[in-house]
């Protein structure tokens, strides 16, 4: 090995702690990049492979009753490759040992052979045998959550009839990778599942013999999705079609897409912060090192080394740090990526998992990581290459201080001289102080943004559970009934208040934009389910006109005063123009609202309800549940207290996991920045600090000069750090919002305080570690050295 390279190795060994601190910061950026892109890629590949092998449909449609004779016509629609017609119905399930009712979506399996599309993968047991009317297969998560293995029995209420069913198999389906019940906010495996049953008994139960009500299609290559949807809608309209849609509105796929989008956003937003900070750190350390190495550089030049050779030598040092950081990041990223991808299978059910982070994320992160440190080193390295040997061998000129305005103010304040030393060090090297402030504020930003997710989720929970949905139970009715049914429901056991609700599927169109959604009738007296504005005030429904959530308005490109075309996808299936009266910020869902009288006037019917919201005497809940399990009119039940508990538990568990990771990252940046700043301070001022000890200053008093300066800089980093945290949170709010959940930009004071506190405590810790080195300074020899 060349002597210069030996020197490099020894420099790295001597500066290992500082190099490690930088490498850790850099490693964080690389890790996040590898983690996010690796997880995203693995999840995407798994999804694509599963969709492909499971023949996941591309277009989905529902109707009331379509004769099977219509199938050839549908198959002939240009662009349609495969067609799968099914019977689909919502059923209430009575599970052994469970007091409350569960609900399920019941799907029919073709009379002969396996389904062409949305093929279930059998995980355990088998699919129902042809001709068996009581055999069913269950979605794996529902069966597992309820301890239902092949051979177990349970009851379901099919169209008002209680039927005993026998489990013969557990399956997964590409259609239900993310399985969530209608109106629910989170998967609830205990209370919602999918049941596959032979076609004959299913059609009989649904009253759909010789007909179907659910259609899935796969397209030929290059076919126009929009054209096929329009054609399908035309064919199904006379049969109660509620509007065909592509995968973009398929619930499971939408959640998956949202997740992939969030991972992509994470890869874009976070790594740059770490890379920029590590570039600054490399610059800080190398500048200092070169300053200390001036005599060596002079000597090397005097011996005939070129400026270029010397520059390359120091560049290698920074690349050494970079390689360390990139390797650390790769290892941590790949490990966490594999774990995270595994964790996703708790929520996203795939029959297999392809963990393939791909070489691209490793390559990109390496290029970015090494680029960041090289960039940080360039300025310092340039300076080394330019030094003249004679100049380099001289000790550098002592720093020049001048009395400025800050000094005058400080002198008037009668500060102690040790405090003056702190102030002068900052004003004399403002650039270095700025790097420290920048680094610590970057760390605070990361911390604010990571705790912000708690605030925003709390806001979503508050909006969804406390302020908007105040009912305890929602009953979904199998079909619409006159509003007078509400009075009958008041007689159900334990019910203390009933409010009817009505919603129906609609397509909203404005120019070339359109959206398939639900419109809900709102009555003035409704108190259980409320529509709130951005300030939490109840919105008074305008007599006519629509009230839209922001996300839907944005999708349609409309503002209050604009007119949209409203197509009712239920009888009378009219299409009318309606004005948009108001647009509201709303975290969850894309439901449009309209005053009940206006909607029923459009439909030309007397007021109706298809949902009942209930307040119940908690003691009598079991009696209510028992009644619901046998009520023929009810095809679905939502238990809001259960949903909330599930939501809280799942969200918090996941959040705490990711927040922990980011909190560690925030701490690592702070430690990296402060530790390096402290080491540099110490090496430059050891002579001065030793002098103070000689003069009789205690260790604590001398430590104050070192630690005080860094803590003052940390303190100065608070305002920009919190401001940066706000901006960073805004980016996350925008980048992580999906079609289904808008992340509100709400940051509590506690979040700001905790972020600042964690950064300050980490900074103090790092500074104190370096301060301990002060104790080891040998006073007698420190005084002899002229640095």
């Amino acid at each position: 090995m060349r002597a210069l390279d030996l020197k490099l190795m020894r420099d790295l060994r001597r500066l290992w702690a500082q190099c490690l601190a930088i490498a850790l910061v850099l490693g964080c950026g690389v890790m996040v990049l590898v983690l996010a892109t690796g997880t995203e890629r693995s999840l995407r590949l798994t999804r694509d492979a599963y969709y492909d092998r499971g023949h996941f449909a591309q277009i989905f449609a529902a109707a009331t009753r379509v004769p099977k004779q219509l199938l050839p016509e549908i198959a002939r629609i240009p662009g349609v490759a495969q067609v799968e017609a099914r019977v689909s119905m919502n059923v209430v399930v009575d599970l052994p040992g469970m007091v409350e009712p569960a609900q399920a979506r019941l799907l029919s399996l073709p009379a002969a052979g396996a389904p062409v599309l949305n093929r279930p993968t059998v995980r355990l047991g088998r699919l129902p045998e042809p001709g068996r009317i009581d055999e069913v297969a269950l979605s794996e998560n529902f069966a597992e959550a309820n301890g239902l293995a092949p051979g177990a029995s349970f009851a379901a209420i099919l169209n008002g009839q209680r039927r005993a069913l026998r489990v013969v198999g557990l399956v997964l389906s590409p259609e239900f990778v993310y399985l969530i019940g209608p109106g629910a906010l989170m998967p609830d495996d205990r209370h919602y599942g999918v049941i596959w049953m032979n076609e004959e008994p299913a059609a009989a139960a649904a009253g759909l013999s010789g007909a179907f009500n659910d259609l899935s299609l796969r397209l030929t290559r290059g076919a126009s999705e929009a054209a096929v949807i329009a054609a399908v809608d035309r064919v199904l309209a006379p049969y109660g079609g509620t509007g065909a849609h592509g995968r973009e509105q398929q619930v499971s796929d939408t959640f998956l897409r949202g997740e992939l989008g969030q991972l992509g956003a994470m890869a874009l937003i976070l790594p740059p912060i770490f890379l920029i900070v590590s570039a600054f750190l490399v610059n800080m350390v190398l500048s200092r090192l070169i300053l200390l190495e001036r005599p060596v550089i002079g000597l090397l030049k005097a011996m005939g080394f070129t400026g270029r050779e010397i520059a390359v030598h120091y560049l290698k040092l920074s690349i050494g740090i970079g390689v360390g950081g990139v390797l650390l990041g790769w290892i941590a990223g790949a490990w966490l990526g594999a774990r995270t991808t595994q964790l996703y299978t708790e929520f996203y059910r795939f029959p297999y998992l392809i963990y393939a982070p791909g070489t691209a994320s490793f390559a990109i992160s390496a290029v970015m990581g090494l680029g960041a440190v090289a960039l940080g080193a360039v300025r310092a390295v340039n300076a080394s290459a330019r030094l003249r040997p004679a100049v380099a061998m001289q000790p550098p000129a002592p720093p020049l201080y001048r009395l400025g305005r800050i000094d005058a103010a400080a002198i008037r304040m009668g500060l102690r001289q040790t405090t003056m030393m702190i102030l002068r060090s900052i004003t004399r090297w403002p650039g270095r102080a700025a790097v420290t402030v920048l680094g610590v504020s970057a760390a605070m930003s990361v911390l604010v943004a990571c705790f912000f997710t708690f605030d925003s989720i709390a806001a979503v929970i508050d909006e969804a559970f406390t302020r908007t949905n105040r009912q305890q139970v929602t009953l979904h009715l199998a079909r619409s009934v006159p509003a007078t049914a509400t009075e009958a429901a008041a007689h159900l056991p334990g019910v203390t208040r009933v409010e009817g609700a009505f919603g129906l599927p609609v397509r909203l169109t404005r120019g070339w934009r359109s959206a398939l959604t639900q419109v809900e009738a709102r009555s003035d007296g409704d108190t259980l389910v409320r529509v709130l504005d951005g300030n939490g005030r109840v919105v008074a429904m305008p007599p006519a006109g629509l009230v839209l959530p922001e996300t839907l308005a944005a999708k349609l490109g409309v503002a209050p005063g604009d007119v949209v075309t409203l197509s009712l996808l239920a009888p009378p299936r009219d299409t009318v123009d309606v004005a948009v009266s108001r647009v509201l910020p709303q975290s969850l869902g894309e439901t449009a609202y309209i005053a009940a009288p206006a909607l029923f006037a459009l439909m030309r019917v007397a007021p109706q309800v298809n949902r009942l919201n209930l307040l119940v005497d908690t003691d009598r809940l079991p009696a209510l549940y028992a009644a619901v399990k046998t009520a023929p009119a009810v095809d679905g039940v939502l238990l809001w207290t259960g949903i909330r508990a599930q939501f809280d538990a799942t969200i918090r568990e996941n959040l705490i996991r990711s927040v922990m990771i980011y909190a560690v990252l925030g701490v690592l940046i702070t430690v990296g920045v402060i530790y390096n700043a402290a080491r540099i301070q110490l090496s430059e001022r050891s002579y001065e600090l030793a002098s103070l000890r000689v003069l009789g200053f205690t260790r604590a008093e001398v430590g104050y000069v070192l630690v005080g300066e860094l803590m003052l800089l940390t303190f100065l980093a608070i305002p920009p750090g919190l401001l940066g945290g706000y901006g960073f949170s805004a980016l996350i709010s925008a980048g992580f919002s999906t079609d289904l959940i808008r992340i509100p930009l709400v940051i509590s004071r506690q979040t700001y305080a905790v972020a600042a506190l964690i950064a300050a405590v980490s900074a103090l810790g790092a500074a104190l570690v370096v301060r301990r080195r002060l104790d080891r300074i040998d006073l007698a020899t420190a005084l002899k050295q002229r640095d």
Partner: protein
């Protein structure tokens, strides 16, 4: 100078481990320093002068032997107690001044007066060394002699009982050196500060009460100086 013993040193040795080799800097020193005296320590490089001075000033601890300041034994004291001893009783002056570059002359002195029990005002200390007009200058704006006089002002501002000077004129020319010696001489005369002064310059011994010669880590000779001169009278 009185005949009361201020420092008593008994059988002092000091061995440094320098890599694999042990270097014996002091090989058994017995010595007494008296209240109010000014002594000059002479000797070639490596004779142990600085090591002795550092131990007297509680900057270093001996390997064996005992050292007493008045009735207090310094050997065996904790680090905190040694710091307190320096803080309350000892002033140091070094060859390279050891000023804090970010503090002005006045502030460098104030650094010490802020932690001392009964200090003089920083301005007064600087007047004493003839720098009353350079209060607001930073070290980089002062000449070597001026910087050394600021260091002396800083050392005497807390009215120390002991002033330890390690080659205070080593980096200075003859004329500047004399001004520095005058400051030390006057502090000893006016404040009664016990002053020990290391030098390579034999001429300086003429201003001392006694001269102690060290050689090879031992006291080689001690001579009294009945005819002291004022610093202005010597040159080199």
């Amino acid at each position: 100078m009185s005949d009361q013993v201020a420092f008593r040193v008994e059988g002092l040795t000091k061995t440094y481990a320098s890599g694999a080799i042990a270097v014996q800097a002091l090989r058994g020193i017995d010595l007494a320093l008296y209240e109010g005296e000014l002594v000059v320590l002479l000797g070639p490089s490596g004779s142990g002068k600085s090591t002795l001075l550092n131990i007297l000033g509680a900057l270093d601890i001996p390997s064996t032997g005992r050292i007493f300041f008045r009735e207090h034994e310094l050997t065996g004291m904790s680090d905190a107690a040694l710091t307190a001893f320096r803080r309350e009783h000892v002033g140091f002056v070094f060859q390279f001044y050891n000023l804090v570059p970010s503090l002005t002359a006045r502030e460098n002195v104030a650094l010490v007066t802020e932690i001392a029990k009964r200090p003089m005002r920083p301005e007064e200390a600087l007047e004493r060394v003839g720098l009353g007009h350079r209060l607001a200058h930073f070290p980089a704006e002062l000449s070597g002699g001026e910087q050394q006089r600021v260091a002396i002002a800083r050392a005497i501002a807390k009215r120390p009982e002991v002033l330890l000077c390690d080659e205070p004129t080593g980096a200075l020319d003859s004329a500047t050196g004399v001004t520095v010696l005058e400051a030390l001489y006057e502090a000893n005369r006016d404040l009664g500060t016990i002053t020990a002064l290391i030098t390579h310059n034999a001429a300086i011994r003429r201003i001392a009460h006694r001269t102690i010669r060290l050689a090879d880590g031992r006291v080689a000779s001690i001579e009294e100086n009945p005819q002291r001169m004022e610093p202005a009278g010597i040159e080199w």
